[in-house]
């Protein structure tokens, strides 16, 4: 791993290609790509290129709106065969090509309304390769602990179907 875990940094399931950790109220993803920085920056900023990679495996992304300037709005719609379309949207805050940009990343969570907040992206040139860092500003270390712990609850409870059946019994 290129990144050292310190007392305040907590590993959150790094793989051999992607480092994932939390630090205070930030959840961070880091990965280095075998491509020059200008190319990687363009992949993020060109509406024709974003759909080539944005979103988890098995999803398709359409760029509905992308006004790349401070206060400009963006909106991507993600489709997948097993669920309804999900819209991700927000505003650009700061743009400093090709090194850094910050935007708000928002989406609607059923039962909780619009959720999200600022994310910072850093693009570092490493001798012709590019290290990309995405930092999700979650607000507090407690929020991160709780968010990740919610996955543990799901494990402790077992399958949701079983739980729903149990609750349906009254």
């Amino acid at each position: 791993m290129e990144t050292t875990m310190t007392e305040t940094r907590i590993d959150r399931g790094s793989t051999n290609t992607t480092t994932i950790y939390s630090e205070g109220g930030d959840l961070v993803f880091e990965r280095t790509f075998d491509a020059p920085r200008e190319q990687v920056w363009k992949a993020f900023m060109d509406p024709d290129l974003v759909p080539r990679w944005w979103g988890p495996h098995g999803t398709t992304t359409k760029v509905a709106e992308m006004d790349v300037r401070p206060r400009g709005k963006w909106r991507y719609v993600s489709s997948a065969p097993d669920r309804d379309d999900v819209a991700f949207y927000g505003e650009y805050l700061e743009i400093d090509p090709p090194a850094r940009f910050e935007w708000t990343f928002m989406f609607d969570v059923e039962g909780f309304g619009p959720q999200g907040g600022p994310e910072t992206f850093l693009f570092e040139d490493l001798d012709g390769r590019t290290k990309v860092t995405s930092i999700g500003h979650m607000g507090s270390a407690e929020a991160i602990e709780g968010a990740l712990a919610s996955g543990m609850i799901a494990g402790a409870i077992g399958t949701w179907d079983r739980l729903e059946a149990l609750l349906a019994e009254g």
Partner: protein, 139 residues
Amino acid sequence: MYSTFQLYNHEVIETEEDALSKTFAALADPTRRAILARLAEGEASVKDLAAPFEMTQPAISKHLRVLERAGLIEQGRQAQWRPRRLRAGPLREISEWVNQYRRHWEESFERLDSYLRELNDKQEQGNGDDDDRDPNRPR
């Protein structure tokens, strides 16, 4: 997960604490997680919930209030007693959401890696003498 922000002249002003942040903060405590796991087995009274912990009922009630405000449990309406029940819907939503957020960036980066490799392979094939290619870049 985040507090909801609004922008005004580049100042970021925090609005009311959003429900998801409250919910995650509620889950940050291991006692509360244990209470939820117990309630997954069926509704229970405050007395029953306090039993496994060396805690007084008022102390447990404090935890229950946090869980209620976070929308994770609700009180039954029987006249004689108010059992607490799990609200499975919200809990499932946030559990899945965290996994989704993690998958989003982890897998987007995987796809980005594939796209960039494909792009650079095409460039190498298409241009025998590409001036833009870094001669020091490892093959």
